[in-house]
Subunit: 491 residues, 2 copies
């Protein structure tokens, strides 16, 4: 099954594409740039959604749903917003097809032209703030803490499964507050929620930081992000949280009366994480044999594979396996017992490795004699034989171990691939030979940032929160600098 | 709060519209025909989703996700399918906007015209079957049992919140099978799942039946449905399950090799239920004071309202209420304690009535003296005073009672509003004066069906499953008939 998966060391990009398809995560659809999220991939996404949704609710947010269509004129109401999204949006101009006069199929009915074109939402600030205008009159209506799970569309020219697709799934939080301080606190709170989720569920270590002005969300005052490092040394932005100031409130005239009766514009935030997280998950942990999934997000945490020569053996093993499965399920562990007789154990082993199932238990005739089973962990490939009556507690411990171990491994990788440089020559050398996060001094200008990007394809991923202040000179311009920022090539 | 909600007896339609808005369920959006599902409404929908999703998984289905866009040519591949959907679809013709030369905003960029137009999915059979072609080669790949939660768009000219909107949320199951029998069994299984959900979660009694050929889903061999009766005597179709035969397999060339190595087209089903269910829920149970929700779908099952004159009283009540809330939560009951001092108890009572919270507990100073609390049920408005130590068990029983009671009430209403008629004159009289489900003989022709529809606006809702066979004559044409079918005016 995993035969022929390209090696990461030879072609990381090809390895990723093949892994995504072969592990039944996603595939390209007949529609340009759009993906089909396959059942196994979607099961992982559902686990991500459930965990995030619970965290959003625990921080006081409620879900709602806003229309997929945005009138063209709405997009234009916030100047930098339209600048950011107009160039890559799907435009609806008509609402009917009709039979072609020559019988060749259906054509667009020219009589069904919309008066105003509609855009398929690339993000929902405009349609949501136009609605908030009616919902918010007084400080008593604030804060308004909503989230939406939705599909969005951005017309990307070069797409890659999960990482960059024309349509993707995400959640977008949109909150409204009475003060700048409260909105800023919300922005940071949600950044922390994303970091918590990435580290404790996905087992992906992240750096929290703020974007430079040129990397800000179109319409935000400040954009915060979490940045993860992939195995090939490239960064992947895994969630963003925006302090919108009063920008959208002003664009859509959303005012509130304070306790003192004073009218003021509302302060806003928005924050989102998408199916891109699937890409981060895959590229942080997996190996040449296939996926490695953190137990907390694995749709199947344990697979039991019987090894048998005849139906009698299978029957005896199945009895043990069913009992074991029942006990594991009672502990809240998801288990699959794969007793198909159409595939060999070797095929099954390879397939569950490809799919990243954290723990595999094999039970064969010798195990029956000895009252044992063989337990293999996906992350380190270690195998151990345990007595049957110890299995449940061993598996429980093992799942926790794996969750910790892959996080620690990813963290060690990131530390080994984080470098401080002082000169531009050194910067380019590290970038080309090693990649990773590069901490370097920058003069704080968009001009320098842009030139470095043009010359090296590296961008400033973020200025870390609570960044250490250190006097230095910009590696590019030689101008004074007070802190190092993180550069990397990125997805 | 509920002041001014129109009376059902005076204007049912207006009552519905106002209730949907005032109870914070949904409202019209700035985009024509699309709705905003407000937080409280969405919480109910989430509970519906969770229950249905669990039922789908328990019957072996897995979720996946397919693109929102459908190439225009795909729609045409199944002849009756395109006939059914081409007239009401959103068409994407361009993928970019640009600044207007006169600076007046953004315009569609004529250079970004798509070679082939895309349709926003009205339903996903075409894009899914074009994908199944690559997934299905042999009987070993079957059955394929997938479901998708998604938004869909049908360009409706006359829209009503939840009942008929341009964009709506739904789930669509799409399954593929090796035999007609298996696909037919799946079709009926999912019809039963919908009926089970409607009756046991929504407390809405439904009739299961099959549609006449003219009411079939565009592309189906047979369409099964569940039909519910609303308080105004109109029917509401609340879920459909389609046996697709080999129609989509033929349109997209999806063949499989049987165990014997014979190539044949795959057999299909599809089945869907949407945010229309919210309309059915609202119109089945609610009254002139507001919503009545079945406890199994109520976001808040119990609200506790303190009645106090000063802060000291509130503090003592709050202590009792917090303890009670904790005990109810421990039983899995969702509770809200509303201790706001900005609103009167009377305001709160009316507001929770409007929102349909099944059980309200009021605790006042006299209750503190007596160690009691007053419990009011939303459905019958009965109030009783119970000792504090009995409250938890009383509330548990009460929630079950309410779930049962509103179902029985709806069933009794349906029975009282189901009539057998033998002549067309009688039919029209019942239709105009009483409405409801009318069982009448029909000659089985589309022509008669169409004429009755034209003359009376009544349609055949379904031919009930396991329908009693009874010789008679068609009330319209006088031709022989072997069974009665259900007529009604419908949403």
């Amino acid at each position: 099954m995993s035969k022929g998966l390209p090696k990461r060391s030879e072609d990381y990009s090809q390895w990723y594409n093949e892994l995504v398809k072969r592990a039944d995560l996603a595939e390209n659809s007949p529609v340009r740039g759009c993906m089909v999220i396959k059942p196994y991939g979607f099961s992982i996404w559902e686990k991500m959604q459930a965990a995030l949704d619970q965290m959003f609710k625990a921080t006081g947010h409620t879900n709602a749903y806003f229309p997929i269509f945005i009138p063209k004129s709405y997009l234009s109401k916030e100047a930098s917003h339209v600048e950011g999204f107009a160039k890559e949006c799907a435009v609806i101009t008509h609402y009917r097809l009709k039979n072609a006069p020559d019988g060749s199929g259906v054509i667009v009915d020219p009589e069904a032209k919309l008066e105003e074109e509609l855009i398929v939402r690339p993000t929902s600030e405009t349609v949501i703030w136009s609605t908030y205008k009616n919902w918010i009159q007084s400080y008593r209506d604030l804060p308004l803490l909503l989230n939406q799970w939705a599909n969005v569309v951005r017309w990307e020219m070069r797409t890659r499964l999960f990482l960059r697709t024309t349509e993707f799934l995400w959640q977008e939080g949109h909150t409204a507050h009475a003060t700048a301080k409260e909105a800023e606190e919300e922005t940071i709170q949600m950044l922390n929620v994303y970091a918590d989720f990435a580290e404790n569920f996905m087992a992906v270590p992240v750096i929290k930081g703020v974007k430079t002005p040129s990397e800000r969300f179109a319409g935000a005052v400040d954009t915060y992000c979490i940045e993860a490092l992939m195995q090939d040394g490239k960064a992947l932005q895994s969630g963003t949280s925006h302090f919108l100031g009063q920008n959208f409130a002003k664009a859509f005239d959303v005012k509130f009366a304070s306790k003192e009766g004073k009218l003021d514009f509302v302060w806003g935030t928005s924050w989102g994480a998408s199916t891109r997280l699937m890409g981060a998950l895959i590229m942080t942990h997996s190996d040449d044999e296939g996926l490695i999934l953190p137990p907390k997000l694995a749709p199947i945490q344990v697979v039991i594979v019987p090894i048998f020569k005849n139906a009698d053996q299978l029957a005896t093993i199945s009895e043990k396996a069913s009992q074991l499965k029942k006990e594991l399920l009672a502990k809240g562990i998801s288990v699959k017992y794969d007793d198909r007789d159409t595939q060999t154990p070797g095929y099954k082993f390879a397939d569950y490795e490809l799919k990243g199932v954290p723990v595999r238990i094999a039970i064969g005739p010798r195990d029956l004699e000895n009252g044992t089973a063989e337990v293999a962990r996906r992350d380190t490939k270690e195998k151990k034989v345990y007595p049957m009556n110890e299995l449940v507690s061993q598996v429980e411990t093992l799942l926790q171990d794996i969750q910790q171990n892959i996080y620690q491994k990813a963290l060690a990788f990131r530390e080994a691939n984080t470098t401080q440089v002082n000169t531009y020559a050194e910067f380019k050398e590290v970038l080309d030979n090693k990649g990773g996060f590069i901490f370097a001094h920058w003069d704080g200008t968009a001009e320098t940032e842009e030139k470095i990007k043009e010359e090296t394809k590296a961008t400033i991923r973020c200025i870390p929160l609570n960044n250490e202040q250190e006097e230095g000179i910009c590696m590019y311009s030689g101008q004074p600098s007070w802190q190092r920022v993180i550069f990397a090539r990125a997805y």
